[in-house]
Amino acid sequence: MKLRRTRLYIPGNNPHLVENAGLYGADVVILDLEDSVPITQKFDARILVKYSLQNVDFGKSEKWVRINGINTPYWKKDIEEILPYCDVINLPKVESLDDVDTADEEMSLIEDENGIEPRKLVPIIETVRGLKNAREIATHPRVVALAWGGEDLTADLGIPRKKALILDYVRAEIVLAAKAEKKQALDTVFSDVRNMDTLYQYAQRARYMGFDGIGVIHPNQIEVVHRAFRPTEDEIEEARKIIKAAKEAEREGKAVISLNGRMIDPPVVERARKILALAEVD
């Protein structure tokens, strides 16, 4: 599965930031056409992003574009302009499967016109209604992950984000909705760029909550998050033992895998494989 531990947001109308976005090793670069671009710059940003996708070396980073939401007059033109050149469309304020279908229809149209492979879609859940429908939204074949947005969701609930008690439930719901469909779950942005210790704890907590990555807004955050998503030495050691036991059982034709007198179920072996794969990434 594609690694998406870090998604680095870059304002789509800033050529200097866009030009350097691929230098930092983020798993994903998101060129933003939505909230970081004022209405007066939407037109210019869309074209700048199109050119950057064709001219800038984004390294190993997957190329996403956060377009404007389907409740705005801009999203169709965003898709029309940039879809052939990006890997993933990041669609904000998705509230229902109908919203995904609407975007999917437009994407299919542009893909057919350009004779290109279907692009992926990552909806951002950032309203109460979107959260309620997250399980359905995750079923769409174009959707590869669910992301969520804290600011808009708490605003929709009418509560201050820093005091919101509901966010762990929201996170759990996003993870369950995504994982039930074998999709990735992506936690929201950590926006305090000065506090690396708290970032590490935040990212590690996201990992143990079941998320596959978090959003970042500064290149300095990337290494910290990758470290937080790296399995611990104990986890790696345990995973190695499990894989070794599984291989031995297979060699000896045993149906049951055991380790230190303990029976190991197939999902545990699968988790061990994932841990070792994640450990060997960097």
Partner: protein
């Protein structure tokens, strides 16, 4: 008059206004890149009979092309 781009570092500001064709290029790096900038501007705006002002703040060629395309499309009446 239409405008595209900004005066931020690494960007270029383009404006197009009605009038006799004229291309004005302002760049701190004019001695180094003035000719290359002018070539790109001429290539993309050849058919436009208007006054075109390009104020460069160290933009790469792809940025200049993006800003020129944005300005030209706006000048031709395209909306957001």
């Amino acid at each position: 008059m239409v405008e595209a781009g900004t005066h931020e570092k690494g960007d270029v500001f383009v404006s197009i206004e009605d009038g006799k064709r004229e291309v004005i290029i302002k760049s701190k790096l004019e001695r180094l890149y003035g000719e290359a900038i002018r070539d790109t501007v001429e290539e993309l705006t050849r058919e436009i009979e208007a006054k075109i002002i390009v104020e460069d703040s160290g933009a790469l060629d792809w940025v200049l092309r993006a800003r020129l395309e944005a300005a030209i499309r706006k000048y031709r009446g395209e909306k957001i």
